[in-house]
Each structure stands twice: as C-alpha cells, then as structure tokens.
Amino acid sequence: MRRSAGDTALSARKITRRSLFLGASQLAFMGVLGLRMRYMQVDQADEFRLLADENRIRIHLLPPARGMIYDRLGTAIAENEQTFRIVIRREDSADLDQSLAALERLIGLSAEDQARVRKELKEANPSAPVTIADRMDWDSFTLVAANGPALPGVTPDVGLSRNYPLKGDFAHVLGYVGPVSERDLAKLEDPDELLTIPKFQIGKTGVENKLEDVLRGQAGTLSVEQNAYGRIIRELGRKEGTQGAAVQLTVDHRLQNFTHAILAGESAAAVVIDVETGDVMAAASAPSFDPNLFVRGISYAAYDSLLNNDHRPLPAKTVQGAYPPGSTFKLVTAMAALSAGVIGAEDTVYCRGYTEVGGRRFHCWKRSGHGAVDLVGSLKYSCDCYYYELAQRAGIEAISDMGRKLGLGEAFDLPMSAVSSGLLPTKEWKLANRGTDWVVGDSLNASIGQGFVLTTPMQLATMAARVATGRMISPRLVRSIDGVEQPLLDGAPLDVDQNLLRQVRKGMYAVSNDPRGGTAYRSRIADDTMKIAGKTGTSQVRNAVVNNNNVPWEQRDHALFVAFAPYDNPRYAVSVVVEHGGGGSTVAAPIARDIMLFALHGGLPPLEAYPSDQRGAAQARFDALDLRDTLAATKPQSRA
C-alpha cells in the first residue's frame, strides 16, 4: 500500500517524537544505573571491600607450643612432639560427605570416626579445627596432603602434642595434659579462645594443671585466603603464637629415677629436700604410671587397672598420702616438751615396758622396757614410754604447736594436685570432728605419731630439714619460670631454742650411728664426711600387736624414716614412707640411706660409703636396679 506523502511525514514526525522520548527515558534509566554504580563503588566501596575481605579471609587460631618443663639440670621432662594430623573447620565443611567418603577410601577412616567428626563439627566453633585423624603415620599423612583437591575443607596439619620422655618418673609431679573438656570449660568464667579448639591440651593434674596459665602461651593467628569451597589459596599473614613459658623445676631427674628404681615394687613415697633452699630434689610416689597414656587417650581397660591396683599408682603419695608418722613424730614431741621446759635433755624417764594411764596400759614397743632413758637415748632406742611421759607433761596443744613450727599440719603452697595438710589434732578438733572430749590417752597416742596424727612424706622431709637447719625451710618445686628465678621461701630461724634442736639432732645421730641400740645403725653411712642422722618410724594400721610377717600385706605396718645428712653440715633431708612395709628400721631406713647417698654424690655412690659388711649387698642391689640407660652407665665398679 502506497502511503500518501502526508502520512509519511506524519509517521516520521511521530516516530521522531516518540523515539526522542524513548531515548530520553532510556538515558534517564542509564543515569540511574550510573548513579547506583557510583553509590556502590565510590560511596560504599570501603564497606563492600570489607565484606569482600571477610568473605575470602579466614583467621585461624594457631595453638601455641606449650611451655617446656625442665629439671634442675636442664633436662626436658615435659616436651612437645610433632604429630601429623588432619583437621577440618565447620566454616569450610560444605562438602563434608565427599571429603569423608574420600578419606574412607584413602586412609580407611572408620565409620565411628566419621560420626565423631560430624558430631564435633556440629558443636565446635566455626573456625576451630576439628581433628579427623591424629597421630597419623607419614605415609597416610602425605597421601592426604597429595589428594588435597579431592578433599574440600580438609587441612593437613602438623600439630604439637605433649610428651613426657621420662614416662612415669615425674607422673605425679608434672601430672599430665589432656583434651579440654566441657567440665574444664564450665569452670572458667572467661575461657581463652584457644580452649574452643577441640582436643586442645590443657593441664589436668600436677604442675601441668597448677601452672597452666604460664605454660599455655598465647595463640597465634593465621590469615588465609580461601575460595567458596574452603580451599586455601594462599597464606596472607601468619602471626606466630607465643610459646608458653619454660618452667624449670627444682627436681633432679637422675635422683628421681634412682628413687623410683629403689622403690620399685613397693607402694611407697620418698622425698628429698635441699635443706638450704627447700628445693625438692626428688618426690617419688611408687608405683607410677606413664602419663603419656593420658595424653594420647587411655583405654578403659588400662585406666581400670590403674584404678583397681591396690598399690594405688594414681595419687601422688608424696603430698596426697597422709600417714600416721609413727615414731618419726617423736622429734616433735621431744621438741615440744623441751621447749615447754617440762623436761631437760639430761633428765631421764624410767621405761618398764608400759605406762599406765587411767587404768589403761600403753606399751612400749620393747615389752621388757628400756630402763632409764634420757632424750638422746629415747630417740636412739625409740622408747615409747619416754614420750608417753612427755605427752602427759606437755599436753597435746604444745605438741601440735611444735608440729606446726616444724612444718606439719599445714598444706604447702606447691604446684601439685590435692596437696594434703595432714592433721595435727587439738582438743577443739576432736570435739568438733569426733564429738567426744580429748582424753589423755589421745595425747599418748599422738606423742608417738599414732592416733589422729597424720603427715605427708613431703611434710616429714620438711620437718627433717627444719630440724637439721633450725630454719623455716619450706619445700620449693619451681626454680624458675621463663628464666626468672623464683624467690626462695622464707628461711628465717625457727622460733625454738637452737640448743634444744642440737640435742634432738644428737639423738638422731645416735639412731643412725650408735652401735649400742641405734634403731637404724645398720643403715649408717661409713663415710665420715657424710654421716646420716635419722629417725625411724613404724606406724600401726591395726590395733593388735602381731608379727608383721603373719598378716596380709594391707594390714602390715607402714615403715617410715626421716633423715638428714651430712650430720655436721646438713645438705639434704629425706623422708621415706613404705606403705605396709613393716619396720622403719629394716625397710625404710636402708632405702633412705641409698637415696641420701645418691643425692650427696650426684650419682650412684661408691661402695666405700657403705659399711664393709654391706658392700656386696649394695652392689647386688645396684645391679638389680632398673635405671635409665644414661644412669646405668654411671654405675660404679667396685673399687674394693
């Protein structure tokens, strides 16, 4: 159809008008788009840039290396070992099913492990690594690392785990670390962010627990750029954490090892204290256990056997074990009576084998009696009647007061678990706790370390140190933290007459060195420069007096011995408690002498230190000891 010229002109006019309007509208819309771009890309750019960074940058916590623990010689007794493991984080675990399936193929990840990973992922902080497999061997680890692209979100990780190279030797002192638990977290008000890392190791017992704050260190951060599938593209920045402080303890790992070896087979505890500084040189509790088992996750069976062992390997008997001190407590009773002036050192008490108080007979261990004994004699023979008399004269309050002065009855401020205060009974204490009045008999029992009196091996060693020096020696376990020497504890002179202490020391010397009735004479030291002075103790765990050999183990007496040496220039104080060991003089004293000699010599002592008739036995004993290789090399050959 041919259009008229008019129509054509009309059409052109209309199209021009409408298209100009259209063009203007489109331009306006493009203006809006341009303004929107400007608004987003210029005005709000910083905000979006931040969002973009958050999108791709992840901050991972880097667990710090735990502080090392050394003994006084600088040997590491708690260290960190590398472990190969693979972890996954919730924020990266989008393809969890794929990853777990691939891991099952690659390294045979078990169904239980897969379920555990799923559960832990659900509960964990989004950026906290959940361990899929731990302590992997190198082959599996590299296999996983090489297959990274097929394992979205899975990160190979070289972690650190606690290791105790000396195994059981320091199990009770150091304690052990373990994965942080719900209960641990519940106890803290403002938990460290690190604790949100599943399986993060924290101290559970002992020094590891008490010094957790200094050992833990500061978390580091690792910022990585990753894609939407959680695969790390590159590291953007790494701020290493700060390793926990290095802690040096006062203990000597060789002495500790020797002490454990010599206590082997017994349920016993032994403590060695430096009498000048109070440094705990050794604190052994036998039997022990391997703390590494707890770090790696102990099996129920292994844990059960530790719990059900009648020798109780788990508690630290050195500080948790509260034993009746037996005759070792006579040092306290003697000091209390002498200080109270109710008896002089030269005054004698007649022992006829028993003392009768309130119609009840209190026997001396020697039924035939010791006759007239003075202070030195009473200690030497360990005459009970002498102390029954002193108890009646001085009273329980004076005895308990003296006990406190000598370091008993109070818990020391040691970084160990469940440090016991023992017990020094008083009249109020009995009324409050037993509901009955104190009777004289109680005082008599207490005077020879029976009845209500309870002490720990650590307290007994401290008592020996205080008697040896006449100063307020307190045990110190931590020598330095991060190179900073820890202050020595108060070593002020004791609030007692030093002359009286000298008399008591003379008595202790007689115990170990007087051939005429010294209860520990057999356990003397032959070396004149290292004379030992001690006190035996045999504390009853039952009432009837029966020959020890005829009763079951758990009803036998505890054997105790406290000592210091050298007599004229004391360096070390030792306490030994052998549970149900029998007599202090026959069981505990020889052990204490061996330990003391080892401490004094800084190694296995020469046989010359032993009386000539005991050297063969000593050699045989040393040969039978299960010492660590480095120590065994120092075993001296007989020079005789």
């Binding site: 788009l33 771009m37 593209i233």
Partner: protein, 381 residues
Amino acid sequence: MSYLEHNLKTVPTGLRKILYFNWGLALLLTAVASVGFIMLYSVAGGTLMPWSEPQMKRFAVGFVLMFFVGMVPIWFWRNIAGLAYIATFILLLVVEFFGDVGMGAQRWIDLGFMRLQPSELMKINVVMLIAAYYDWLDIKKVSRPLWVLIPVVIILLPTALVLKQPDLGTAILLLTGGAIVMFCAGVHWAYFAAVIASGVGLVSAVFASRGTTWQLIKDYQFRRIDTFLDPSMDPHDAGYHITQSKIALGSGGWSGKGFMQGTQSRLSFLPEKHTDFIFTTLAEEFGFIGCITLLVLYGLIILFCISSAIDNKNRFGALVTLGIASTFFLFYAVNMAMVMGLAPVVGVPLPLVSYGGSAMLVLMVAFGVVQSAHIHKPRGR
C-alpha cells in the same frame, strides 16, 4: 508496498552498500564484545578456554551474519516477518510441549554447531512483526482499539508460552520490547497509561494471592522477590547471589582491583560468573571507571540506533531499529539493575558480554536487520 513509496535510486545497491554500512555501530558492537572476551578470560582464571575462545568464534560468525543480513534489502526482512514469527512460534510450541516429554525438559533445539533457544529468536521476531504490522497499517487507524488488539495478541501469545516455561526474564523482554515498538508507532498514550495502571494492579493482586489457592506465581518466584527486597534474609541460599554480587561490585571501588585480581569472582563466590553475573567481575576488576565505560558503550549503541531511526523515512526500518535497540537496552538495563540489586534476579544475560551462543548470534542477526534498515533507508536529495 511501502518500499515503492521511495525512488529506488536513492537506495544504495551492490557493493556501494558497504559504504553505507553503519561501521560506527559495528565498531561499538565489537568493542562491547571485546569487553566480554576479556572478562571471560579473567573469569576462567587467565585462560582462553573454556569461555573466551568459543565466544570470540561466535562473535566472528555473528559479525559475518550481521554483515550479510545487512546486505539483504530491508523489505525482504519486512516481508518474511510474519513467516518468521509463525515459524518461531511453532518451535516454541515444540519445545514447550514436546521438549518436556521427548527431550528431557530442554528449552533449546540442537542445531549441531549451537543450541538454538526459540525464545531468544522470538524476542526479535515479535519486534519485527509488530514493526511490519504498523508499516502495513493505515497510520490513522493506529490508535483504534481493534487495531491495537492485534499487536497485543502478537505479543501475548509467545509471552504466555515463555512465562509457562517459566522464564520471567524473557517474558519481560518480549512484553516490553513489543510494547516499545507499539509506542514508537504512535499508539495513544492512554493505552500505555492504562496498561501500567493495570500492571500495578496485577502486581498487587499477585502479592495478595500469596498463600491462597489461586496463587498466581510460583513459590520460588515469590522467594526471589522476597530475597530481592531483603537479600540478607537468606544469605546462604537465594539471597546469596545478590549479596555476593553486590559485594563484588561494591568492593571494586573507583578503579577496581585490577585485571584478574577480582577476589570475589576468582574465588568462586559468585554464581554464574561467566553468564548472568559477568558484570560483577568487570565491576570488581575495573571498578566504577570500567562500569561507566561499558555503560557509555551501550548508550552509544542505542544512540546510533535512535539517530539512524529518526533519519529513516522507511516506517518499518525505523520501527524495527527502535525495537531492536530497545530490546538490547532492556537486556543490559535489566541485567545491570539485577546485579546491582535494583531488580530481582530474573536471568537476563548482559548482551554481547555474557557467555552464550544463542543470545549472541540472535543479537548479531538483529543488528544485521538494523544495518539493513540503515543501509536501505531512502536517501533523498
């Protein structure tokens, strides 16, 4: 026949047509397509495969097609407009009713070298048929209701089919593209005012229908609208696209993070980064300057078309040029608005830049028709 209205001697013939080819427009199209090649190269992580190289090949084919389509006289295109519309409509019916059953719900027909989506073709065919219709129609009858109804039916038939697929993006483009040709042809304002008013009413009705038995659109479409209105509502699923897209765009800043340095697109936070969301990569890597440059290039293409149309005494040529230009405008305007969070995510690619064979070739053929209209416009002296 309207081409007889003018002296054929004023229309270039033979090789002289090459002189009248709109080289400026061709250059602009090439420039825009080149932006696409660069972005696809970047999105692929610095390699030509799998997107950039095929895209270049398709553009080369498309450019040749545009050239030859442009050489064909415009009246040929007007004369086959009806036939092309019917053929495409049949194809649309085929994929709509048989695609579901026989071809596994596919919306395209495999031509061997490429997959043709009839709905892509339909966008151009609707524009051409309506332009041809108004070329045929007596100009005085343009605004009469009965004569307005015919193009409305032409538009609504394929729109209904496409909407049923459902492809909201294409439906909007068909509807708006056709309406713009009607508008340019001189249909009375009142009709458009009425349609816009009823459109607002319809949107209200759609929202009112939510949750009722007569719900007008699908639940997922409602959700898309929801997340458009508040992307943070669902940052990990549906809102994820918009949120991540906005982050990529905004973090580009003035001059961008640099070529191949876009962290968002590089790290796969962006969905469909090589197709519908490619603009965000451009925005992230070249910033505001890059975005405005592309917007200006697009604007210039529209400007070239409008000026060609205004200068064109051939009614079909002018209308088809305006229609195609407007469809092109709708493509990029909707896409940009979408990635910038101004419009819901409806699945409209960025024309000539997004990876995709059908859309690219159809657009180049359409610009061939624009070239044809330009070359064959009456040039009176």
